[in-house]
Every structure is written in C-alpha cells, then in structure tokens.
C-alpha cells in the first residue's frame, strides 16, 4: 500500500508537470527562505552562549542615576576594582575576570606587522569562556605577564602554521610576548571577539590608568561565574549600595545581568531590560513562518483546484474498498513526497544564496552538514510543512462520495471549498502587500535619516589612527601633508567624529547647581583646526587658534550644551571642565556625533595636546581622491614605517550607523519580493486550472460571439477581485504596523499614501499580468477543440 501510494504520488507529480513545478518551486523557495531566516535566527539566538556555564555567567552592569534620581543610563562597563573586590568579598562568586574592550594594536612577527584586534583579561576568563585550545595549557596560559593567547588564523597569518607555542610576537613594536596558547577561531556570533588575548597584568604594566584602582573610571567589563545556588535578585539588592558602603557619594549602582542575554535584551529603560534585537528576531521568525505559509497555501489551492481530476480516483478506490483513512494517508504521503523534493531544491538554493545573503547582512551563516540539529530541524520543517500543506486537501478530497462523483461531476465543487480557497488567496496577498508597504516605509525612513544634515562637511573627509611615531611627530606629519597638497587641513583628536566614545560629568559653569554635576557631556579633545577641517558651523566665537596663547585652555561647545548651561553670552565664560578652568571660545551648531536616529547630546570640544588618537584630514578637492590617499600613505609610511597605514573615508564610517536599518530594509525587500513571487506562482496555477475547467464554457461563449477581450475580463476578474480585497485589508494593517514602527524613532518620516497606492497598483499589475497570461491562452483557443473535449 505504501509503495503503491508512493508510486501514485510520483506519477502524479510527473504527469502534472506545470502544477508540480509550481508546487515544488513555490515550496522550495518558501522552504529556502524560511530555513535561511531560521539559520539567521539560530545564529542570533546562540549569540554569546559559548560560556562554559552559560546559565551562571553574569556581567556586572552599572545603573547611573541622573539629576532627578532617575536611572539615566545603564552601562555595561565597570571600574577596575569590582572584579577583584567581588571575588574577595563574596562567597557566591566562583570566578571573576576583568576584560578590556578589544582594540586594534600593531603586532608583528617574522618581520611582518598587522593591526590585529587584541584584548586584555584576567586569567579567570579562561574559566568563564570555553575557548578550544589547540596548543597550550588552558589553566596557566594567562598567568605570566608577557604571555599571549592567539587564534588559529592569527597564528597562520604570522607563522604559516598553528604549531607556534613558545614563539613570540611583538606588541606595538615595543615588547615581545610569548605565545602560551593557540585556540580555535572564535565563532562569529561571539561579541567579545579578538585575534589575540593578553593577560591583565600586562595591561596594567603598559597603562597606568588600567593599573591604578579607580572607582570612577567605568571602562572595563567585569564577568562573573556564580554559584548556581545563589538568588540573583537577592544579590542585586545586596550590592546596590556598594559605592556608598565604600564611602563614595556617587549615584551609581552595580547589579548582575545574565551575560548571554545582553545581546538580545540589551536595551535598558530606567535600569530594566526592555528588549533589544529580540524584537527584530521575532519579526524574522514571523517572516519565516509567513513565507512558508504562503507556499503551503499555494499547495492547498492547487490540490483542491485539481480535486475534480482526483475525485474519480477517490471514487474508484472507495468503490473497490479503500477506507477514508487510507486515502488521507495517501494524500498526506503525496504532499510529503513533494515537500521532500522541494526541501532538496531548497538546500541547493540556500547553498547558492548563502554567500550573497551573508554578504548583504555582513554575517557568517553556514549549514553544518555533520551536525544532527540541522538535519532534525530540516526534517521537522519538512514534516510540518508537508502535513500543513497536505492536511486540507487530504481531508477534503477523501470526503468525496463515490456515487456523487460518478453520477455527475459538476456537484463536487462545494460552496465552502471555493470560499476557503478565496480566503487563502486573500490571506496570501494581504501578507505580501503588507510586506511591500513595510519595505517602502523602511526604505523611506532610511532615506529620511540619511538626508538629515550631518552638521559637518562629510565629503572628502578621511581619518586614520594615530599610531607609533605619529604622536610625537604630529607637527612634522601635518606640515608634510599640507606641503604635499594632498590635504587642505589636518587635525588630531581624541576620537573619531563618527562615534560617541567619551563623555564627561562633574562640569560646573556660572549658575550651575550641585545636581548639574551629574550631567553628562560628550567630549572630544583636539588641537588647532577642528572647525576648518571638519566644516562644522560656528554660531558664535571662533575656532582654536595658535595666535591666542590662552586657547590651550579653551573649549568649544555645541548649541545644545549652551542651552543646558543656560547661557546668553557664552563667549569668554569660564567652565570647570575635567578639573580645570576652561574658557568658551566658540559655539557651534550641533552635528551628528552618535546615532543619527536621536537628538544630539550636548558636546564639549576641549583643547588637549596630550589626548589624541585619530588624525582627520580634509582632502584637496583639486586632485583625485585616490591620488590624495596615495600621497598620504607615502608620507605616513615615511614617518611611521613600523605601522600599516589605513586611511578611511568618514562618509563610509557614517554609513555604518544605518547598517541595522539597511539590513532590515534588505530583508523585508527580499522576503516581500519572494512573498509576492510565490503568491503569483499560486495565482498562475489557479488561473490555469480555472481556465482548464472552463474550457467548455469558453468554447460555447466563443461560438456565440464573445470577443477575446471580454473572455479575458471574465476569466481575470474573479482573481483580481481577491487581490483587491487583499489590498483593502492590508493597507490599514500595514499603516498601523508601520506607523508604530516609525514612532520608535525620534526622527521619523510618516507613512506616505502615494507609496501605498503605488504598492497596491503594483500588486494588482503583477497579479493581472500573471492571470491574463492564462486567460489569453484560454480565450484564444479554438472553440471546436474545446467543444470536442468530453
């Protein structure tokens, strides 16, 4: 019986090539899209779950209370005293470790140097994270101060092999570190990633500010592995007043947060996690299921549309003794065979599309064919899809009564089946139209943010890191660069102007209160030429200038900072800033330093020769950019030969701020397009069956004088009606969803009705094109052929 049903299934697929193709390709695309999204979801879901004991790995977070006692900021960084203190003081801490943010440093070996990402950590980190050691001892690898653990590919890069234990690499062209461990490359979904890991003791020996215990420098990550028996809520209430207990009158409160949850639930409002990328993940899950459902609906529609053909088979089988359950299992089998075929194509499709998909999203997804979970997942998806797609046809077709089938065929079309089919098509298209509208709104929002004035001249602006000799020889660099004509101005600053990296509190100004000391100001340290190089707009006063000796004590403030300080005549006012008196020499219009999606925070730019790290240059517009870059690279290499030169365009850095939204846009675009495509595939199939069923009617009408166009209208109308209803349903839904989405942005566009109308017209157009192809074929057919049939 099984064999025979299997045979019937295969022969049916082969016999009805068009519908099988539509079914299989629709299902394959749906499955591929769904599996791809699920891969992405599992990638995100497993983010940062590589700890040895994930359930008990916690990160110490800091709630900072602001002016009115509210928690204004929840920070992931702590001071360097927390980790050792906790380990010493609390018995529930099993392991504690400090971890620095990874940053690019120059490392060299075998006379080649690269800037590779390095991090510093306490040895305890090896007990918290599960690094796979190829060489070296996991327990001791970070014990000696001048040791280093490197990843497999870093080892290959420098030595061509991974067997490099006890060899050494040179750090920042200054000191040799002995390789005490080689580990497997870290997975892409690990946020604390690095190319090499150095001991904390080395960090302290290199940087005084890392060594000096400082309760107020929140720059380091503290990770803990805690006793599984402990109650985290109790702990959190007991450590809340840690700062006060240690005699520090600061409004900061440490607390523990599950490390692996930070990635998906990393948004905090008033100290409480309010979600984060989990929202996006849920959205993608919905998309995956939606696309698959659309493909399943196609299958159901095709199967029930074919019911007249299958009715005869059902009738015969029932007459000669088939039970209903045997027929149900036969039809389910058919849909499972089809789904399985589709799954094979889907895997091929995924393999073809993954590189493209990875490139689009900037992630690293892959199918691990040796893992059991991927096969189980695939099997589960195939089973569920096959059963969902096959269930309705199976129950519907197997319910036919043989006598009715044999007596006259026309009765087999029940009112319910037709309307259910219509409901399914309407559902399909509603989903597709919602996706299309969502896509355009997301695209518009991205454009809206993109078109927000940046506040500085972003074109022709480049930056590079200030490495090695470039600190001491900055003046030489500046004069040589200007001399070459490649750049029109140069500046050094503490941070890039494309990110909010430093902020400062405890400022005071004329009329400021004690509470105002809690206010945070973004801050950038720089020397001469900031306004000229970046092109920010001065509102009052002037740029720093070597002509005024007092400018070494000067600050420039943003317009919003001026408003915070409540100043009428800011120029010449004295502000206590970073423990020093500073004089305001200029006020500039706010520019986008951090996220372009939110209002600019008040910013203070202060003069400081000692604090620098980035060189920003305005290219000479008279020469081609490539020539300018080449000239810059040549000069930098001369002055600072030990380091590789890496000049970046500021507009590229700026564009990265829109990455997440762009990704969302691409995904909804891609899957919206797919949804429309699969829906149209189904519509094409339905139209062809309807045309086939109505062959006789069309023949009769033609003999009686109907024109081709009137027949096409007749055939297309019923389908367009369904698409029309779908559009009417989906527009308010899409409008509601997208208006809410837009509201989550501080700066946002509104849902544009022209776009919605265009989306609706586009959908109708595509549907019309799909249906009319079949309608035309049927209407053009020779009526004699049609009437001879039967």
């Amino acid at each position: 019986m099984f064999k025979l049903n299997f045979k019937i299934a295969l022969r049916n697929i082969w016999k009805n090539k068009t519908s099988s193709l539509i079914n299989i390709s629709g299902l394959a695309i749906g499955l591929a899209a769904c599996l791809m999204l699920l891969l992405y979801v599992s990638y995100e879901w497993n983010f940062d779950k590589q700890s040895k004991d994930d359930a008990n790995t916690y990160q110490v977070m800091m709630n900072h209370r602001g002016v009115d006692g509210q928690i204004t900021e929840t920070g992931q960084s702590t001071s360097n005293v927390i980790a050792p203190l906790f380990k010493q003081k609390y018995s529930w801490v099993k392991t504690s470790a400090r971890l620095s943010w990874a940053a690019p440093y120059l490392v060299s070996a075998n006379h080649i140097g690269f800037k590779k990402t390095g991090a510093f950590a306490d040895p305890g980190i090896l007990d918290i994270f599960n690094y796979t050691f190829i060489y070296g001892d996991e327990r001791t690898a970070l014990n000696a101060p001048n040791s280093v653990i490197i990843t497999e590919s870093t080892a290959r890069l420098f030595f061509g092999t991974t067997d490099v234990l006890n060899k050494s690499i040179r750090f920042q062209n200054a000191l040799d570190l002995k390789i005490t461990g080689v580990i497997r490359d870290l997975p892409a979904n690990m946020s604390r990633s690095f190319d090499y890991l150095m001991p904390w003791s080395f960090y302290e020996s290199r940087f005084d500010w890392a060594k000096k215990p400082n309760w107020q420098n929140y720059s380091f990550t503290t990770l803990l592995k805690i006793d599984p028996q402990t109650n985290v809520d109790q702990i959190n209430s007991s450590i809340k007043d840690l700062y006060l207990q240690n005699g520090l009158k600061l409004k900061v409160e440490p607390y523990l947060f599950r490390y692996s949850k930070l990635h998906l639930y990393g948004n905090f409002v008033n100290g409480i996690s309010t979600g984060g990328s989990i929202t996006q993940l849920r959205l993608f899950m919905g998309l995956a299921i939606g696309i698959l459902l659309i493909a399943c609906i196609n299958f159901m529609n095709m199967a029930t549309a074919k019911s007249e053909k299958r009715a005869k088979e059902v009738g015969i089988k029932k007459t000669i003794g088939a039970t209903r359950s045997s027929l149900i299992s036969q039809f389910l089998m058919e849909s499972l065979v089809l789904t399985l075929l589709a799954a094979v194509f889907a895997v091929v499709l995924i393999e073809m599309c993954l590189p493209f998909f990875n490139h689009l999203l900037g992630i690293e997804l892959g199918i691990n064919y040796s893992g059991a979970s991927i096969w189980l997942g695939l099997l589960a998806v195939v089973l569920v899809t096959g059963l969902i797609a096959g269930s309705y046809p199976a129950f519907y077709l197997s319910s036919f009564n043989p006598v009715q089938i044999f007596r006259k065929r026309s009765q087999s079309k029940g009112i319910l089946s037709v309307s259910l089919r219509q409901v399914l098509v309407v559902g399909q298209f509603s989903f597709a139209v919602i996706l299309i509208i969502a896509t355009t709104v997301i695209y518009q929002q991205i454009q809206f943010i993109k078109n927000r004035p940046v506040g500085y001249q972003i074109n022709n602006l480049v930056e590079m890191e200030q490495d090695g000799e470039l600190y001491a020889k900055f003046e030489l660099l500046r004069s040589k660069l200007l001399e070459s004509g490649a750049v029109s101005s140069v500046l050094q600053s503490s941070t890039t102007i494309t990110r909010e990296l430093s902020s400062i509190a405890r400022c005071a100004w004329p009329g400021s209160s004690e509470d105002d000391k809690l206010r945070n100001f973004n801050t950038i340290a720089t020397t001469y030429g900031f306004v000229k190089t970046t092109g920010i707009k001065l509102l009052y006063g002037r740029d720093f200038s070597p002509k005024f000796a007092s400018d070494t004590n000067g600050i420039l403030i943003s317009h919003s900072a001026m408003k915070v300080m409540n100043m009428k005549n800011p120029i010449g006012q004295v502000v206590f800033h970073d423990g020093d008196k500073a004089v305001i020499v200029g006020v500039f219009e706010d520019f986008i330093l951090g996220s372009p999606f939110s209002t600019e925070k008040p910013l203070i730019i202060h003069f400081n020769k000692e604090w620098s790290g980035i060189v920003t240059m305005r290219l000479n517009p008279g020469h081609p950019a490539a020539e300018n870059i080449a000239a810059i690279e040549k000069i930098v290499k001369q002055i600072n030969p030990a380091y590789p030169v890496n000049v970046t365009f500021v507009d590229e850095l700026y564009a990265k701020k829109l990455t997440e939204q762009r990704r969302l846009g691409i995904l909804s675009n891609l899957f919206g397009g797919l949804a429309i495509f699969i829906s149209c595939l189904g519509l094409f199939g339905l139209a062809s069956y309807s045309a086939e069923q109505r062959t006789k009617e069309i023949g009769v009408r033609k003999v009686l004088g109907a024109s081709v166009s009137s027949l096409m209208r007749l055939l297309s109308f019923s389908f367009l009606k369904m698409v029309g209803i779908a559009i009417i349903i989906s527009i308010p839904v899409a409008n509601y969803i997208m208006s809410n989405w837009l509201k989550s942005f501080e700066f946002h566009t509104s849902v544009n009705w022209v776009v919605i109308l265009l989306a609706a017209a586009g959908t109708i157009g595509i549907a019309l094109f799909t249906v009319s192809f079949q309608a035309y074929k049927a209407a053009k057919a020779n009526p004699v052929e049609a009437l001879k049939y039967e």
Binding site: I8, K317, G321, A322
Partner: protein
Amino acid sequence: MIKIENLEKVYKTEEIETTALNGINMHVKTGEFVSIMGPSGCGKSTLLNVMGLLDKPESGSYKFLETELLTMNDKQRSNFRKQNMGFVFQNFNLIDELTVFENIELPLIYNKVPATERKRLVNEIIERMNIVNRSGHFPQQLSGGQQQRVAVARALVTKPKLVLADEPTGNLDSSHGNEVMELLCELNEQGTTIVMVTHSSHDASFSNRIINLKDGHVISEKINKSRTEELI
C-alpha cells in the same frame, strides 16, 4: 442470493424531490445473469448503486445470502462490498496513474492479500483476460475494449460472489462491445452472479432474465429462454 423488498429512494435538492426508486421488489438467484433495462431516469443506476452498497435507500430491505445489508454502518458496508462484490463501469474508471497490473492488484491490496498471492492472482486473471502483453501499460495506452477488459479483470480478481455492471458496453463500438458481453457470459457460465444495467436489448439478450423499470417501479420481467435452458 439477493432479495430486495419495498426499496425506496428519494433525491432531494432545495427545490424538488425526485423519487428514484418507488417500492422495488426483486430477487436474484445465485449464478443468474440479470439485466435491468429502462428509459433514462427510471432509477436503474440508482438500483445498481444500492445493490453495490454505494448508496443508501430511505426504506426497504436488502438481503444478501440471508444477511440484511441496509442496517450496516459505513465501515461494515465497505468491508462487505470489498469482500463480495465487483464493479464494471461504463467509463471503465481505471486509475490513470496506475499500470494495468497495478489497477487489477488494487482491490487485493485493500483486501489485505499477501504480495506473493496477489501476484499469482493478478497474473492468473491477466492470462484469462488475454491481456498479458499489456500488463505494464497505462490505461491511456489501451483501446476502449482492452480498458474494459482490464476493468472486468479488476472486478473479478477478488473472486466476488456478485458482479455489478453499469452499461459495460456503453462506451465501446459493437465489436468490442460483443467481446465484453461474451466475456461476461463466460464468467456467468463459470458461476459468477451478474447484475447488469443496460440500454441495449442486444446486450440484454445475453442474460437469463430481463427486469424492466419505469419511474422507479418494476413494470415487467422477462425470462430469456434460450439462455436459461442452457443454464439448466
């Protein structure tokens, strides 16, 4: 073998009620070949469907070898049908996706006959029906006469006590029609009871007895002497 009393069947649609069978009384003896004739709409196909347990009458009694069938539930009817009856249709009703062999094998599968036994039975009947060289073909590849022979083979492979034929020659030309009728006669001579619905008096002449229906009544019954004498 069959005893039918006061059989009534009414078809209802929203507007009209059609009485298809209006108090039918008839019987069929074991080994008989009975034809049912009558104009279109007289209820002959309905009667055949009721006899084949495909349709349920409103009232009356239908005894098959002393067993009352009308009180059975769907499952019992289905079981009884597949064990005791074979069907031959006007439009053959072969499954297009299955080969000749597989079509004939299908009822045996539903009767849970083991595979080796099935193979033997199907081959035996294929030989008897003279369609050996067609067993791997699909129905569309055969002529109408050959298709009907396959259909007859399928009806007989389970060795049913009763074969019900609904205008078996209706879609065939006269020479193929005669072939099928001769086949049915042969089967009947070998002991199978046959009830056949037909329009054609030529076909009816092959049977032992002819029952005429009109408006759901039996209006006359005629014994075909030449055939009946042969039977005796």
